[in-house]
């Protein structure tokens, strides 16, 4: 009984968490009009949607008595994908007819005309069938202007990968953002973890004066919010950049080509910032893990004459893989998803923008093109998911890092 209940609750939680992702993927695979006019849950069943079609092309001006065509052909004329198919339910008729109640005045008539019924369009008789075939007959030869009509069609589900092709291959923004995000994320993960591993070893197994106080300070730095430090950090980088500019002017002949200026907002600024703000947690996590390794192991290594560096590289590192891996996942996800640090401190060139900034920009330009925005969002999710799945076997072990003291 309780087991079933647990399963139901669990299934419900999974459903709630997975639903937005399903919505995201579904919308990214639908056509622009479909995703705008009906919800994603309607994507899998035939849905009645309004579509506007023109009876014929503007440049087709030859007079005729009777014309026949097909509504679906007209709708799919310039489309390579997301071909509309289904049953035509009705067509909206609109026009002014003489008002029977008020002589001399006209009245606006709006009504839905079903398949097979005759309706008056520009003085001709217009009849359509539910398979889309229509005929337009005039009493004598005429050349009417094309008429756009609203047809209500019970549309079959249709999916396509156009949005992905468009964001990945027809525009360089998303591929550039992917590359820029890797340039930022990989060093910003490796650098702090390298420094933190050394520091954690020192905090765990080397005794020096003030060690505990120093550790407390490092741990308490975890609570400093990044946002608070933007201005001083930016000022620091601009100071370094102007110093580097002067050095550049003094050492090279850049003045001749006007290229002395060293930028202060670069990928390197992001590496430094993410390293600085990632270090406290990294040191804390790794130190607590390393301190729990069997003491006897290290002592026997000492007796055999191993140096600190040898102990660190031969013993500590191989034994700490779970902790290292789980912190890498943390740091990778945090840097990959970071928007605000990149926005304030990262490079601003259009080709150097990281993925979250690109997504934010797309929100501005594509707010009405949900399928493109969703396709980019799915692409940006795929990378962290790969990272997570490939390292997840370390993750559980790593999460417990330092929680239980061994040895």
């Amino acid at each position: 009984m309780t087991r079933t209940f647990k399963h139901v609750v669990l299934a419900l939680i999974v459903f709630i968490w997975v639903l937005p992702f399903v919505a995201l993927v579904t919308t990214s695979l639908r056509s622009e009009t479909a995703s705008k006019t009906s919800g994603f849950w309607q994507a899998f069943t035939p849905t009645e949607l309004g579509q506007r079609f023109g009876t014929h092309d503007r440049d087709q001006t030859d007079p005729f008595v009777s014309m026949s065509g097909n509504i679906f052909e007209r709708l799919n004329k310039n489309k390579d994908s997301f071909q509309i198919s289904g049953d035509v339910q009705s067509i909206m008729f609109k026009g002014r007819l003489p008002d029977p109640d008020k002589p001399g005045k006209t009245k606006l008539i709006k009504k839905l005309v079903a398949a097979g019924e005759v309706m008056d369009v520009r003085g001709g008789e217009f009849v359509f069938q539910s398979n889309g075939d229509f005929t337009w007959t005039f009493p004598e030869e005429t050349a009417p202007k094309p008429k756009n009509l609203d047809a209500f069609i019970n549309q079959n589900p249709v999916f396509g990968t156009d949005a992905y092709v468009e964001v990945l291959f027809e525009n360089e923004n998303v591929p550039n953002a992917l590359i820029a995000s890797f340039i930022v994320t990989i060093p910003a993960t490796i650098i702090p973890i390298t420094i933190a591993a050394f520091a954690a070893y020192a905090f765990a197994w080397m005794s020096f004066p003030g060690r505990d106080w120093l550790f407390v300070i490092v741990v308490s730095l975890m609570v400093v919010p990044t946002q608070l430090a933007f201005l001083p950090v930016l000022q620091g980088f601009s100071g370094i950049a102007s110093w580097a500019t002067q050095l550049n002017a003094w050492m090279t002949d850049c003045e001749a080509t006007q290229t002395c200026q060293v930028a202060s907002k670069t990928f390197a600024s992001l590496w430094v910032t993410h390293t600085a703000f990632g270090l406290p947690l990294a040191i804390y996590l790794l130190r607590n893990y390393i301190v729990g390794l069997p003491k006897e192991l290290l002592e026997s290594a000492r007796i055999d004459g191993a140096s600190h560096l040898q102990i660190f590289t031969r013993l500590i590192l191989p034994l700490s893989v779970p902790a290292l891996a789980s912190f890498s996942i943390f740091q990778f996800l945090w840097v990959w998803n970071d928007l605000i640090v990149a926005l304030y401190i990262g490079p601003a060139d259009s080709s150097d923008l990281v993925f979250p900034i690109r997504l934010q920009k797309q929100l501005g330009t594509f707010k009405d093109q949900l399928h493109l925005l969703n396709a980019s969002a799915v692409i940006s999710i795929v990378i962290p998911v790969i990272v997570f799945l490939s390292m997840q076997r370390y993750f559980i072990r790593g999460l417990l890092a330092g929680s239980v003291k061994g040895g």
Binding site: T33, M92, D150, E170, S238, Q258, S351
Partner: protein
């Protein structure tokens, strides 16, 4: 450090060639470009809030300057411009040029000494060469750190606000005529309701700027219900927000926006409809509304990104004045302000470039860009629609800037927006006006 995917993968190189319009054509303008000097390899950094299509057109226009002088213009646009520029200026990371979408923030930055004056010579040039020049100069003139007024902001790229968008086809089907007076517009709206149609699409949702569309309505109606002098007094708060003149304009706006029969989706949908989605009602199948009042930029939000104007399925008319009020043809507009945040010879040359008619024509030929530059050739406008807007701009008997842009930031980008949103949600006109006025009193 730079990474260009296009260099690595030839597929993208080919794709990008197709995507961007031939830049050479953009620079080939009716007016010839004067000599601007040579700045081989010098970098000019530009920051602004323009993104997407606007960003593309800006870089295309700047490329003409690059070609003429050899300088490199690097533009970075972000919707968070207002926050980013303040951080960059305070931390010594100023770009060469900052493009302010609203004068309020530019004035604050000038007062803190972050902007470099463009000089009396530029102000004189603008007064002479821009239509209604002295009012444009006033828009870019602020008090500096020493309290002395100077010309800081160069208005370039203007928007026209007093436009009503509609679908000619729908008007034809329904047998409607374009009204030339406000009385006619209201009669037409009533006629539409009688015929079972919905006249207006109105949406004021815009993230953290929700409400600005409603302030545009208010300003346009102020110009149509009271004198331009009162409008100016309203901007400076000499005429309080809760005065009868302002309340009257707000009530007229209420007659449109708080009328369930007038607004598609009902009056309650106004506050939650994204302003860019509102015009889509004109083109939905069936059409959910027949008219939409919005500035000249809005075709970019149409379903086919403005192609509608070319194929004749969308058009606009001038938001007409009351015949009875006899206030002439008032026009409401706005413009972006280009300021110098880090001086350099190449940056000064760029400001010289913006004085060239050619710089205006280059952008005019690409799309949504209006200019008051008298020397610019009207033939350069990309579409007849833009040309028509350019003519409305020059035929105006009264031209006034977007009032919310001129008011202090706490009002024009704060209380005015939020209270107009509350008004859309059902708050009455008197309370709305009182709340805005007390917010204004608080910052005096």
């Amino acid at each position: 450090m730079k990474f260009h995917v296009s260099a690595a993968l030839s597929v993208f190189a080919a794709a990008s060639l197709m995507a961007s319009p031939a830049i050479a054509d953009v620079c080939d303008t009716p007016s010839k470009l004067g000599d601007l000097g040579k700045f081989e390899g010098e970098v000019i950094t530009v920051m602004g809030s323009m993104e997407g299509k606007d960003e593309e057109m800006l870089t295309n226009t700047a490329s003409c300057f690059e070609k003429a002088t050899g300088a490199v213009v690097k533009y970075s646009g972000s919707r968070d411009f207002a926050a980013l520029i303040v951080a960059d200026l305070r931390s010594n990371n100023a770009p060469n040029i900052a493009i302010f979408p609203q004068p309020g923030l530019a004035a604050d930055m000038a007062k803190d000494g972050f902007l470099t004056p463009l000089g009396q010579e530029s102000a004189d040039w603008m007064a002479e060469n821009y239509g209604a020049g002295s009012s444009w100069v006033a828009l870019g003139t602020y008090a500096g750190p020493d309290g002395k007024e100077a010309f800081y902001g160069f208005p370039y790229k203007m928007d026209l606000k007093s436009l009503v968008w509609y679908s000619p086809e729908q008007f034809e089907d329904n047998g409607y005529e374009i009204p030339t007076t406000m009385e006619g517009l209201i009669a037409l709206s009533d006629q539409m309701v009688e015929d079972g149609n919905t006249p207006w699409c109105i949406g004021v949702e815009s993230g953290n700027a929700t409400g600005w569309t409603a302030t545009d309505w208010m300003e346009d109606l102020m110009l149509r219900t009271t004198t331009p002098e009162n409008y100016d007094r309203w901007v400076s708060n000499d005429l309080p927000f809760n005065s009868p003149e302002v309340l009257k304009a707000m009530e007229v706006y209420g007659q449109f926006s708080r009328n369930d029969k007038y607004v598609a989706g009902g009056a309650s949908s106004v506050a939650t409809t994204f302003f860019g989605d509102a015009p889509k009602g004109l083109f939905s199948s069936p059409a959910s509304c027949l008219m939409h009042r919005q500035a000249s930029f809005i075709p970019a939000f149409f379903p086919n990104k403005g192609e509608e104007l070319k194929d004749g399925s969308a058009d606009f008319f001038y938001f007409p004045p009351y015949e009875a009020a006899d206030l002439g043809n008032p026009v409401l507009g706005a413009g972006t302000l280009w300021t110098m945040t880090k001086d350099s010879a190449a940056t000064r040359a760029f400001f010289e470039y913006m004085k060239e008619a050619s710089a205006h024509e280059a952008w005019m030929s690409q799309g949504t860009f209006l200019t008051a530059h008298k020397g610019a050739d009207l033939e350069a406008y990309a579409t007849p629609a833009l040309r028509k807007q350019g003519e409305i701009l020059s035929n105006a008997t009264t031209f006034r800037f977007d009032a919310s842009d001129l008011m202090p930031g706490a009002i024009g980008a704060g209380a005015f927006w939020s209270e107009m949103t509350a008004f859309a949600n059902g708050q009455d006109a008197k309370t709305t006006a009182d709340n805005i006025q007390s917010a204004w009193d608080a910052i005096k």
